[in-house]
Symmetry: C2
Subunit: 401 residues, 2 copies
């Protein structure tokens, strides 16, 4: 097939994406910091549009936020940036298909910013027979057992092919708990891999014309000196944004907060800070309070598919009998159509009857809630009310209805 004669289905440029504008590296404008808190409001600018912060990024593992159409993601959820998983996209549909499509934006039709992780976390959590060496990681696919090698260089190349606006460095994410010696060796390897990632990106052009921006990742497990050393090393690279990895992997919540605060105290205030894989609504509020700007988590979609819903009134297990004749809206406190149109009783019926629509509606509700939560946090930061709002909101979102 001649790629030049066959335009992709969604080849029209979006209003947010200007082919005639100068492409530029990601920038971050810090607009406000809450009094007596690390909480910040800012704006990230990318070649695929702006992202107000703090922000939650829905996870679109295989190029789809599970059970949600791109139209719903944009119009109902109001997502500003979504994630893709390098490990999954590399295995399916593969870089050859993605390159022929013109990158993931063209492939799935999402014309706002995309962030891809490095595949490191999935290699350690999903793949079989991992062998970690200086060069990289050998592993077997969880799909068909086929053998693959991820190196810092190959992972940068894959993320170039995917075409994400934000590219994550290849890292090793040690489990919790880890021995000090292992955590230190692993962190040092992650740092050497980071340098190779930076070099590889310097040696290769942006694949599709717009700028792809590397975020390095802090590791160091739950050791203060290692986390401090890692933050300092990462900060020294002067990247356009920085990520905190290796948390929310099983450690107590208070420990996660403690190490998040340690990291945000060192990572530069002038760059966006991304806490990877976090978390519950209250985790997000506590970590915004500690200076984090960007979050992602599978919780809203995964828990939604299991009938657990986050609402402005608290957490709901929609399968519970108590909702059978509750004809009030899914979430009276959200302005979104899906939250207002469908009742709790109808959604419970869908889950009891194993209807796919239940998973769809609960996923949308949860994503809407997460986006509402970070948008509201931003409003409160800008209005100077974050601290008192946060205390009240954490009580609300932790309520079990």
């Amino acid at each position: 097939m001649d790629k030049k004669t066959q335009l992709p289905a969604y080849s029209m440029p979006s209003p947010l994406f200007c082919y005639f504008c100068a492409m530029a590296a990601l920038t971050f404008a810090l607009e406000a910091t809450a009094a007596g808190s690390g909480a910040r409001a800012g704006t990230i600018q990318t070649d695929h549009g702006t992202i107000p912060t703090p922000i939650f990024m829905p996870v679109g593992t295989a190029g789809t936020v599970k059970a949600v159409t791109q139209q719903q993601l944009k119009n109902d959820v109001g997502a500003r940036i979504i994630l893709g998983n390098t490990y999954h996209l590399y295995l399916r549909p593969g870089t050859e298909v993605l390159e022929q499509a013109g990158g993931l934006h063209r492939f799935n039709g999402w014309d706002r910013p995309i962030l891809t992780d490095s595949g490191g976390y999935q290699v350690f959590s999903l793949a079989a027979n991992r062998k970690i060496r200086e060069e990289g990681v050998m592993f077997q696919s969880h799909i068909d057992g086929s053998r693959h090698l991820f190196t810092p260089e190959s992972v940068m190349d894959i993320q170039r092919s995917i075409g994400a606006d934000i590219i994550m460095a290849f890292d090793e994410c040690p489990p919790y708990p880890s021995e000090y010696g292992y955590a230190r060796t692993s962190m040092e390897l992650t740092h050497r891999w980071l340098d190779r990632c930076i070099q590889r990106l310097a040696d290769t052009p942006d694949t599709y014309g717009y700028t792809q921006n590397l975020f390095p990742i802090v590791q160091g497990s739950t050791y203060h000196d290692l986390r401090k050393a890692s933050c300092e090393y990462i900060a020294s690279k002067d990247a356009v944004g920085n990520a905190i990895g290796g948390l929310s992997v099983g450690e107590p919540e208070e420990m996660m907060y403690e190490f998040t605060e340690l990291c945000t105290g060192i990572l530069p205030a002038s760059k966006p800070r991304y806490l990877m894989g976090v978390g519950t609504p209250w985790n997000i509020l506590e970590c915004i309070d500690r200076g984090v700007d960007m979050f992602d988590c599978v919780m809203p979609t995964r828990n939604g598919r299991n009938g657990m819903m986050f609402t402005t009134e608290g957490v709901i297990n929609i399968k519970n009998k108590k909702w059978a004749t509750d004809f009030s809206p899914i979430d009276p406190g959200l302005p979104n159509e899906i939250s207002q149109f469908y009742s709790k009783a109808y959604l419970r019926h869908l889950f009891v009857a194993n209807e796919i629509l239940g998973m769809q509606l609960a996923s949308i509700q949860n994503l809407q809630f997460y986006l509402w939560l970070v948008t509201e946090a931003r409003t409160q930061i800008l209005a100077g009310n974050f601290a008192s709002w946060k205390t009240d909101m954490i009580t609300r979102v932790k309520t079990r209805l």
Copy 2:
């Protein structure tokens, strides 16, 4: 809970539903009949709005057209009327919940017309340990094995509680092939049950204020004299609409067409004719040609969930490797957003990766295609071009891509 103080989530009257208008029985205006064909264009008027005919009615078995939101059903698919299954809705969520909700329209938020089947077909195809007597049918639920009795009276009461605009008579649907004696006995029972249905509806008020309209069902298996007798009996009841049951149950297509034509030749031209459970796109065109106005079938949604798609260019098995790098729209010939926005390659990826979104998009595409097909048929009938258009279209829709 006090029903009066708690309004349902979607209590706002829709623009199509006027609480101040006089409620009235279903009417049918016949607008055109194609030259040299039985094909007709008309308009059905119900208290929940108008239905242009010929029409295809998406099947919403348990109060949800599987994997499609009510917003997508209205805005993307353009459905004018949907089905609910009495058997399924009776078992889950049950009439008590539906009555408390204020009927199925309020429960699922669908404010256009709804038709419910009588449960007869499902009792014979899904339930266990059926015992057919004059009184009705004893059966065990396919969900939990619980025992239930459906009689013409109870089925009318259930459909009153569901609140459908069009209610189907309780019938026995004999399998294909059936012995003549069995087919005759069964048809006579269906006729006696029809009289009891009519009586029950005369004895009970419309549950929710708007008019509920009974359609009787022709049976008689594949015997000419029985079908003729059944059509004459059904026609003698002077119902506002009439249905043809017991076809598309395994008999050859040509036989289905033959008996459809026999029935439409007897059932009054001034009333809408509904052929139950039919069928493929070409089945629908052939039966429009023979004077049928209304169709329903699970095929577009069920086949969609399995990756089989109907398009204006032909039938696609989207899982096939040949679509892996075909970045053309799902269906270039349909104006709908979903058909234009997503590519075949992306949809194939979703199916290969077992992503729910694949089932959603394929279901929407297929329903859009079915609605487009009947809308186009109507346009061609009104323009006087139906016969030649039909011949050409059948070739197209039967093409395997």
